[in-house]
């Protein structure tokens, strides 16, 4: 089973992301509605990857990412940033902060599935 943490302050957005990713078999999803909640969940349980929004109240996605990369246990966690800011500069910034991949909103179900499959590598491919 692949466990994915989906972080976005918008419930609709989380639901949409999960609706898209349900097409990948053998995955389960955990919601987090803020950056702080995401960090808490990551510190208490193990996930295979995180889908992370950038713009959130309390702490934003880049701060979450910086914190995650500063933790020994989380350094190698795959993190996919999903953001409305699709420009090259933003992309550079989040990749520098340690994002594994970057997906601009709006995206199609196929696009996000492809990104996640690429991150999860052979694991998702083999069960699909």
């Amino acid at each position: 089973m692949t466990d994915i943490l989906v972080v976005d302050d918008s419930k609709v957005m989380r639901d949409m992301i999960i609706a898209c990713l349900r097409a990948i078999p053998e995955t389960s999803f955990v919601h987090a509605s803020s950056g702080l909640e995401a960090i808490e969940r990551l510190s208490l349980a193990t996930f295979d990857m995180m889908v992370l929004d950038l713009n959130m109240p309390d702490i934003g996605g880049v701060e979450v990412l910086e914190f995650v990369r500063g933790q020994d246990t989380l350094r190698s966690l795959p993190v996919m940033i999903v953001t409305t800011r699709g420009d090259e500069q933003s992309r550079e910034r989040v990749l520098q902060a340690g994002a594994t991949s970057f997906l601009a909103k709006p995206f199609t179900p196929d696009a996000i599935i492809a990104e996640v499959r690429a991150i999860l590598g052979g694991r998702a491919e083999s069960v699909a």
């Binding site: 918008s10 419930k11 609706a19 702080l36 510190s43 208490l44 713009n55 933790q71």
Partner: protein
């Protein structure tokens, strides 16, 4: 084979969330404006506005609502720079931004109705495009805060300023720590719950994560640092939140003089004005499930049939009992069942409740718009309280409030010049209060200190006699088509007239409407509506061999009719019903025979009981044959125009399968044109 998700299915959820963000954007923009008019800034509100529009844009793009993306994108781009710099927004820009929000609102509303969202006008886009960035960056204030640089560096300038202002206002700035662990999470202690509890005893300025060495006490290698302002003691905070008192530390050294002396005109309350308070805690929506109202209606419908079934059961048990069968055990079960039904009903009703604050949250924006359109100076005072009311009541009530507010600003409050001539403060006052009056009723008042209503002038327009009391005035104001407008203005003349206000409040909601007005001093409209509709406690009674019910909330008292206390008044000239006068504790109360009104064969000349209701504060009694009891009934509206009649608010089923009429005795007395009050009373 897996089906690809269709994101269009999310449109309903999208609309709900978009509305929430629009409400935030409106309130926060007004908060920015109000701060800046006082020579202050409110960077937090700018940030919240920016975030809301950013979210709206992202969601709209996902579900393919391009017109909204076009508007939100322009606003977001403009706001981002101000959010970064913390500079004040130019006041004309706030205008354009509010127009942008309005533009999005219109499109969201259109989608909600099932229409398409129109592309924004070139005019709107041009207005938003012309918003240039002219922000001046402000240096962060030097911070006399006891905080390690790693954390201090993560604070925005406005957060540091918020802390300093709080300290200057006499609050204590604290740092609290919460270390999550699986054991704490199992007890329900997570960063979300800690924040929620903390928000009750302190103002949370910021929460930051901090990596700590992994230890048995910190198995996740993580602790959260909460930066707070509070007036509570450490002990109180530790208890309220459930954290150790040792984890609390003071953030500031002793300060004798205010740190920001040069900004002495800044009052500490400013940062937490009423509007911001409502929205500052975005966390309050956590743990919320959105449900379509139609699904709640289904649950209510299901409950309704349960209640009807219970009536049938009760009758069957009573029948058994009559035949001498021991029904003790059955009766005990019936008692339990009644309690469970009541609890279930309360639970469903609670789900449908929304805070009254939600009803009033758009009023500041409305007043702002009216202020501009009419050039009136108006101060708005809102008193919302914490009452909750049924969503469907709230939805019907809102247009009524809009109408009353519009009338007040447009017609009642004088121009600044005129007010000065009359020796009134230049700024008019519009005050709206909203509070639960009992467990079942909500009272709303809309008061202005304007010119008051000229009864004689209104009567002349209507071609009637000048009324000598407020009830008469209200009757006049509610004559269909009557307009008291002296001049045609840009804001009124749209929407609905007073007669629709009355129809909504009295006929649809079963509430009451009152007006009191003093020439030259002002006018108050008072609305009383039930907090919920559809299931109510009601008295059932018999009259002329028919059964009726009347909601308990409407009844003032039930009295015995003692023929000693009766005096008959000559029939009314206009052919109205016979009015008797009954003495109730020495006060003369007009009494009508219900059987006569409905042309039912009455058992005796006078009913033996009388139900007393109040119309505009004056008592009026209806004589009936026999009271049957009190029970919860499900009221179904009567929509058939052939059956609908004044004084009948719906039908119910008492369990015998026969429809029973639900009476609105207040409306009935109004439709009969019976004069109340002591003037005609003979002892």
């Amino acid at each position: 084979m897996t089906a690809t998700a269709d994101l269009k299915e999310f449109i309903a959820a999208y609309l709900v969330e978009a509305e929430e963000h629009l409400a935030v954007a409106n309130a926060q923009l007004l908060a920015v404006e109000s701060a800046q008019r006082k020579g202050d800034t409110n960077p937090r509100a700018v940030r919240e506005t920016f975030r809301s529009l950013h979210t709206i844009k992202g969601l709209s793009a996902m579900v393919g609502v391009e017109p909204v993306v076009a508007i939100a994108h322009r606003m977001e781009t403009f706001l981002r720079d101000f959010d970064r710099s913390g500079a004040p927004l130019p006041l004309p820009a706030i205008d354009a931004l509010l127009k942008g929000v309005r533009g999005i609102e219109q499109r969201v509303a259109a989608l909600g109705r099932g229409d398409g969202a129109a592309m924004p006008s070139d005019e709107l886009l041009a207005a938003l495009d012309s918003l240039g960035f002219a922000a001046v960056s402000t240096a962060p204030p030097a911070a006399p805060l006891d905080l390690e640089p790693a954390l201090l560096g993560k604070l925005a300038p406005f957060e540091i300023e918020q802390l300093i202002r709080g300290i200057n206002a006499g609050k204590r700035a604290l740092r609290a720590e919460f270390t999550p662990s699986p054991a704490r999470a199992a007890e329900g202690m997570t960063i979300n719950s800690v924040r929620e509890r903390m928000a009750a005893v302190a103002e949370i300025v910021r929460v930051l994560p901090r990596a700590v060495p992994v230890s048995p006490g910190a198995p996740g290698g993580l602790c959260f640092v909460l930066l707070l302002l509070t007036s509570s003691t450490d002990q109180a905070i530790a208890e309220a939140v459930g954290i150790d008192v040792d984890t609390l530390h003071r953030l500031h050294r002793e300060v004798e003089a205010p740190i920001l002396a040069e900004r002495g005109n800044v009052s500490p309350e400013m940062a937490t004005s009423e509007l911001e308070e409502d929205f500052s805690d975005a966390q309050s929506r956590r743990g919320v499930v959105r449900v379509e109202v139609s699904r709640l209606d289904e649950a209510m419908e299901g409950l309704s049939s349960l209640i009807v079934t219970r009536f049938r059961l009760a009758r069957a048990v009573a029948a058994l009992n009559k035949r001498g069968i021991n029904t003790r055990e059955l009766s005990e079960i019936m008692v339990d069942n009644a309690r469970q039904l009541r609890d279930l009903r309360a639970a469903i009703v609670r789900v449908r409740m929304v805070p009254v604050g939600e009803l009033l949250e758009r009023v500041p924006l409305l007043v702002r718009g009216l202020r501009r359109a009419t050039n009136r100076a108006v101060r708005l005072e809102l008193e919302g309280g914490t009452a909750e009311l049924d969503k469907s009541v709230s939805e019907r009530l809102f247009p009524v409030i809009v109408h009353l507010v519009r009338n007040a600003v447009d017609h009642a409050i004088e121009s600044p010049d005129e007010r000065e001539r009359r020796g009134k403060p230049e700024e008019g006052l519009l005050r709206i209060t909203c509070g639960a009056r009992s467990n079942t009723r909500l009272e709303i008042t809309v008061t202005d200190d304007g010119r008051g209503i000229d009864r004689a002038a209104v009567a002349r327009k209507a071609g009637r006699n000048t009324p000598n009391d407020n009830a008469g005035l209200l009757d006049l104001l509610c004559i269909p088509g009557l307009s008291t407008r002296d001049i045609v203005t840009t804001t009124s003349g749209r929407g609905m007239g007073m007669e629709i206000v009355k129809r909504t409040i009295v006929d649809e909601l079963g509430g009451e409407l009152e007006v009191s007005s003093e020439l030259g001093k002002g006018t108050t409209f008072t609305l009383r509506v039930p907090l919920t509709i559809s299931i109510v406690d009601a008295f059932s009674f018999e009259c002329g061999e028919q059964r009726f019910v009347v909601p308990v909330a409407m009844v003032d008292e039930i009295i015995e009719v003692d023929s000693e206390c009766l005096a008959q008044v000559p029939a009314q000239e206009d052919g109205g019903p016979t009015v008797d006068i009954i003495s109730r504790r020495g006060v003369a109360v007009p009494m009508l025979q219900l059987a006569q009104i409905f042309r039912l064969a009455a058992a005796e000349k006078y009913g033996r009981k009388a139900i007393v209701v109040r119309r505009a504060g004056a008592p009026i009694a209806f004589a009936v044959d026999r009271m049957l009891g009190q029970q919860e009934v499900v009221i179904r509206p009567i929509n058939d125009v052939l059956v609908r009649a004044p004084g009948i608010s719906g039908a119910t089923d008492l369990g015998d399968g026969r429809p029973t009429l639900v009476l609105d005795l207040v409306a009935l007395s109004t439709s009969l044109n019976v004069r109340t009050g002591a003037s005609r009373a003979q002892p």
